[in-house]
Symmetry: C2
């Protein structure tokens, strides 16, 4: 009976992190070992804070370090992964960072289990086959509509059938300028591609700020408007969803447990639920949301902004669903996010994306590639070293 | 124009932290200085993890260390506090621990502002006067019904008109044993006192586990059943609320922003919303929830399990509400939680609780008292010391 003997965290960062909405500037890889097996995962999280939550002294029975519910646990079945996740959430319930930390651990457990049973993760999840995805190019809005046009043209030239434009100036200036960005994006990607727009929660929960942007989204046939509001603003979402039709609302990346995603499906009127396996607690809760969404006619989409290990981990949970067509595919990654894995997910001749049909997640970390980005961390409490960056 | 010049964190802990549901075994005090003024707050959080979130390197534009949105900010009005809170939540949106860390900072800002304007915080919040509260003794269930009976008798002997029994064995064993605990609690506190029961999320989201406990709660006239489920299990809450009447559901302590509390009010059918100012982001969001609840006929109650600084901070947000009668008042505090403040909130001859009518929160920290519990922490990243426990 293999037990989890060790878990190591590798905090990697670009030498300089810029103040822009690009999540690929640092990452936290997780190496998990049980018996002869090793699995890898990644947290989409603040690396230092997640490391601290792994080693922090216990505050009380429901505020324990995450490691207390992982190390030493038996791991040889899907039930084990579910049991460990439940244990972590109970024992570390009052430690807010927990779900982000658990995410990388859960992904590493699935990777390990897949290798142990010689199955890709999506098969362990119960899917018989995988369906190809239509990846969207995930790019930041340009500073000007002209820049947005150029970015959109590039996405089209690169054979993307869908493109998402997000963050940057959108939603902060005038509705007229925003409309010019939307027009430029549509012009650049062509009439038939999916045009996706990400407002990055810029209007908090203020419907009056969102409303003047709807006309352009309808005119240029956006498929979705993503995160007009903070994840919790369910009522604002529901109201805007009605006014925006046929443009659908998309959201959910901020969900750090299954319940939060369910609330957006149940109460916010979203048409697309976007889940980051690196934030919601891993592949297990992502799969549960995908199932819940499918039963309710809501389309599941991955949210991903870091390495191809994180990308593949975010695709397995809905790989076997025929109806969830689109997937996120970041195209402006920093070198770090590319260099930390040996293999990558490339689009096929049709511009579509499939997972590697290999055991586990199907992405192999490149430790030599990661080494040059490794950040040295040491945490001491009461004179004792609780954490030190492991050697690669 | 005073600006926030420094924020210091003091992580204090009992020498030994036990694996029990007692949140008073450690705490994280916050000292905030602006110009000649000093304010104090407290996070109800994992201290090390919150400290890490204060100093962590930036990951991207929406995942910054909390301090980046606090240090250097102007602070001389309520609007400043709101502005800083909004800034923190936007700049650290993807850093999950943020709200717990912000809590202590927000409380310290209110304490400082009260001292600056020579007003207790509840007056700065717009309340003209404060109303006395009926404190409930907050105790853990005994291991046996006989022990629970003794604890309940003690609460009655100490002149409590309300007592809450929580955690321990409740909900884990048979419904019959649970019923014996409830009967013992009622017998001990007497026929007229408020009997409050806290299930501590033990049934996760499983209504079938909760249902067999309802008969005893009705028979022995519990005022509320607290946290039968995880905070996010809104549908399970709503169903149980209907079946449990006239016993009401209570919950909300897990809320780490206003939206989450609103969801429980809007969708979970709760009769009491319990907010921990040390977790939801401080006094500001607590006050917003109190206002929202009052407009919807839901009773607001504080959640508190640490020092009297945290207790007072949790009472100000609803101090001026005549209708929210009950308040939590922990009675089994570890010495630490008592020793870190010079003054305390004591019940008056009627057994009721009032805030000190002094500027700010009205509780003065005892640094000499805290000193013996101070935990030494050092965090190094990339060879640089990002945090070191400040001297007292």
């Amino acid at each position: 009976m293999p037990r989890i003997e060790s878990v190591d965290f590798y905090y990697c960062s670009m030498p300089e992190v810029l103040d822009i909405g690009d999540g690929s500037q640092d990452l936290l890889m997780v190496r998990l070992q049980a018996g002869e097996w090793v699995g890898w995962g990644e947290c989409e999280a603040s690396p230092l804070v997640s490391i601290a939550s792994w080693v922090t002294p216990m505050s009380h029975s429901a505020c324990k370090p995450v490691r207390d519910s992982v190390l030493g646990q038996q791991l040889d079945s899907v039930d084990d992964i579910r049991r460990i996740g439940t244990l972590v959430r109970a024992n570390s319930m009052d430690l807010l960072q927990t779900d982000h930390t658990l995410s990388g651990v859960d992904i590493a457990m699935w990777d390990l289990l897949g290798k142990m049973h010689s199955e890709p993760v999506y098969k362990l999840l119960g899917y018989e086959r995988q369906y190809p995805r239509t990846p969207y190019a995930s790019v930041l809005f340009g500073d000007t509509p002209a820049e947005t046009l150029e970015k959109a043209k590039r996405a089209r030239a690169e054979n993307f059938k869908a493109a998402k434009f997000g963050w940057g100036p959108y939603g902060l200036g005038s509705p007229e300028t925003d409309a010019e960005h939307i027009a430029a994006a549509r012009e650049g990607i062509g009439p038939d591609a999916h045009l996706l727009v990400d407002a990055g929660t810029v209007w908090k929960d203020d419907i009056d700020l969102a409303r003047p942007r709807l006309a352009a989204l309808k005119e240029f046939r956006a498929t979705w408007l993503e995160e007009p509001f903070l994840s919790g603003a369910l009522n604002a979402y529901a109201t805007l969803a009605q006014e925006a039709a046929p443009v659908k609302m998309a959201g959910g990346e901020g969900s750090h447990n299954v319940h939060m995603a369910q609330h957006m499906i149940d109460y916010a009127g979203i048409g697309f639920v976007q889940i980051d396996a690196g934030r919601i607690g891993g592949i297990t809760p992502s799969f549960d949301v995908a199932t819940y969404a499918r039963e309710r006619g809501v389309t599941y989409v991955n949210h991903t902004f870091t390495s191809h290990l994180a990308l593949a981990a975010s695709l397995h949970p809905f790989a076997g669903s025929a109806t969830d067509e689109i997937c996120e595919y970041p195209t402006e990654l920093k070198s770090l996010a590319w260099d930390v894995t040996k293999n990558h997910l490339a689009r096929n001749a049709d511009g579509q994306l499939l997972l590697n049909d290999e055991p586990g997640i199907g992405i192999e970390p490149d430790l030599q590639g990661a080494k040059k980005y490794l950040v040295d961390v040491e945490i001491r409490v009461g004179g004792k070293v609780l954490y030190q960056t492991p050697a690669i």
